[in-house]
Amino acid sequence: MPTKLDDLAIFGGAALFQTPRPLGQLFTPDVEDYLPLLREALGAQSLSGNGEIVRRLEGRLAEFHGVHHCVAVANACAALMMLMRVFAAGRKGEVVIPAFSYRGLPHLTQWAGQVPRFCEVDERTHVLDVRSLATAINEATTSVLVVTNFNGPGDLDGLCDIAASRGVPLLIDSVEAVGATYNGRPLGSFGRAEVFSLHATKLLNGFEGGYVTTNDLALAERLRRERDSGLNLNVKLNEIHAALGYLSLECFDTIVSRNRARFESYRAICARLPGLNLLPYIGPDPDRWNYRMAVAEVRTPWPISRDQTVSLMRAEGALMMPYYSPPLHHSVHAPAGCVVPSLPITEMLSSRFAQFPVGECVSLKDIEKIGDVLEFVRDNGHAISDRLQTTGV
């Protein structure tokens, strides 16, 4: 527990954590459980291309998500690129994307030969806003990319209705919302297709990987053909990655319960810190929340800014990060020449939130220590704020 300002790493003190505490899930099963699957992957003498473990994984994922088809690929970004390109059907057009979201999205639309059309999100759910979507869709729109967030899926019915009424395919990036339900069904069966990730920093660890879920047989077959034929981009998932993904899926409930313990710990801490408001989970089914992230809104009376809080904690080795900031339409990720709309809600949200370190590399004890530092900031707010001003942070 720091006792004076000089104790803080940002003012020259020793860092709280020698090994930085990250944000990613980094789920680590018992290696003894993984090795038999690894041996199987190696023994099959075929490490890539529609292998046995990939197919088993696809089957289990289809079950998990309550869909007919699951197509596993090299990573979620490749899945999104493929889908947007399929829906574009040879046209160069636009994909509507949320501006308060993942930095990769504008790049992926361009790989698919499309331009991003940045769209406002709902102030409460942070998911694409229905009325804004209706305005954003035009004759050039080839698809709509909805992103469901860790804290909730938003108004998927409203979004799907708009897209359907305008004859535009809708796909959903549900990477951070995996496991959640909507209308009593797991995410995975909504829109034309949904995309999930098996990246180590996401809930299910498959080293690197991704998958598409859909009930559209023709679409699933098309994706498999593109993946397996070698005629198009090689986006196959290899057996070694699939093996870890499979094991992670078996441990889904354990991962979520450990996430929940960390989240509750942050909740208790933030309750003592006026101005640090932990974003609540607002999805319809609490039993299905994945507790993947702990994100706090930073506002008065918290004595320092969101960015100062992030810098201060990162200096301690607690790798906080601004949440979806800067907004995509104002970021380096917006392609030159594309329309930069005024999106007041997105712009406001981008300035407000920060992610706390979570995942398997962060213990409950670590979170307590993070709480100690934040309490010190609460209690010495003016002095810290003044000193940060002087040092130009």
Binding site: L35, G104, F207, L231, K236, N238
Partner: protein, 397 residues
């Protein structure tokens, strides 16, 4: 009149091999070494995002190739797409008619227009003259290819590229460990890309890399392959990262490379011996003055002199559980064009003709010398009975 049914599985006999024997190297390091590496990954809890093993791979592969920079990726498609964006290319790129289909796909994904160049009959590679005849104002680059690791005419092509201000890059996906005029492939052009798929000599469970001496290009490629914060400005980024798991395999297989090549060479020599003096069936030779991986064993079947075509050999061998490949089955000229159709093969007569003659034979880690000898004997028998087989197949169709 031979009783084909007694000899060949295609006509009713028992298959010569009990289980399928396939093409593709599928090289694996010793199991205990792999397990040790994975225990390390789990201990560190560092699975992806430019971890220590990926960094080691970048460094060790660069050192092996003798280049300043190797940038490892999740597969060769990602390597090519990353490189194309790193070079900030637009417009037309000349590409040989015989290249992997994924090379052409990568060009299109990068927003470029592939312009296909027919190949030379002997080398199955493009000539400088042929490339030169296709240049227009829209041409910005030449993407060469080294079929089976054999390179040709690089100096002349580089001169042509330089004269016209074009970038020269190479798809070296079949060429890891090979030299050209004593220099390691990977050092030519502005950059080359490699494949580390399970079928190639260096298996990294998919995997690929970009190899270049150009510092700025390497820095751009490192930034393009991920979405992590970077001070380097690039136009477009993707997730093209290699994982720690892939890097673990790459490093172990790099260490084992001399042994792998030794085993390949022994099998190749056995094929050379077993397929000698067979009219119409010719083993594609490696230039023994260069270093090579000897990982591809390809025969060229001249249906006139062999009195039987490549497809018939393929069919007969398949039935015996010898699962061959037809190289360039989906060649450039078959994949370019709109999504519904291919370009007219008559525009590329040499590539079209050559592709139909090629048959790749099994040469993987698990293929023994005894297996090779049995495969050669089988091919010899097919050749011996070629007329009758041809007649029988015709009758049945």
């Amino acid at each position: 009149m031979a009783d084909l049914a007694a000899i060949f599985a295609r006509f009713g006999a028992e298959p010569r091999f009990a289980a399928p024997i396939q093409t593709g190297q599928r090289n694996l390091p010793p199991l205990d070494a792999v397990e040790l590496a994975f225990r390390g990954i789990f201990d560190r809890r560092y699975y992806a995002n430019n971890g220590p093993l990926v960094q080691d791979s970048d460094r060790d592969i660069a050192r092996f190739l003798g280049v300043n920079h190797a940038v490892c990726t999740t597969n060769e498609g990602a390597a090519m797409m990353t490189l194309l964006k790193g070079l900030e290319l637009s417009g037309d790129v000349i590409v040989p008619a015989l290249v992997p289909a994924s090379t052409v796909a990568a060009l299109r994904w990068a927003g470029l227009t592939p312009v296909i160049c027919d190949v030379n009959e002997q080398s199955l590679d493009v000539t400088c003259d042929a490339v030169g005849s296709l240049l227009t104002e829209q041409t910005t680059a030449i993407c060469g290819f080294h079929p089976w690791g054999q390179a040709h005419g690089i100096k002349a092509l580089q001169t042509l590229a330089d004269r016209h201000g074009l970038a020269l890059l190479y798809d070296a996906s079949q060429a890891f460990g090979c030299t050209h005029r004593g220099r390691m492939i990977g050092t030519f052009g502005i950059a080359e890309i490699f494949s580390f798929s399970a079928s190639t000599v260096l298996n990294a469970a998919e995997g690929g890399c970009i190899s270049t001496d150009d510092e700025q290009l390497a820095a751009k490629c490192r930034t393009i392959r991920s979405f992590s914060d970077s001070p380097v400005r690039v136009a477009l980024r993707m997730n093209g990262k290699m994982s720690e798991a892939q890097a673990a395999l790459a490093l172990l297989n790099l260490e084992a490379l001399p042994d792998t090549i030794g085993a390949n060479r022994a099998r190749y020599a056995a094929y050379d011996k077993g397929l000698a003096d067979m009219p119409g069936v010719r083993l594609v030779a490696y230039n023994l003055e260069e270093q090579s991986h000897f990982s591809y064993v390809v025969i060229e079947i001249d249906d006139v002199h062999a009195e039987l075509g490549r497809d018939a050999f393929f069919e007969l061998l398949s039935a015996e559980n010898v699962v061959c490949s037809r190289p360039f089955e989906y060649a450039a000229f078959q994949t370019v064009g709109n999504d519904c159709g291919a370009q007219d093969a008559r525009l590329f007569p040499v590539a079209h003709r050559c592709a139909k003659r090629l048959l790749e034979l099994p040469n993987g880690q698990i293929v023994s010398i005894a297996d090779v000898e049995r495969i050669c004997e089988l091919i010899r028998q097919i050749r011996h009975h070629s007329q009758e087989i041809g007649a029988a197949l015709k009758e049945q169709s």
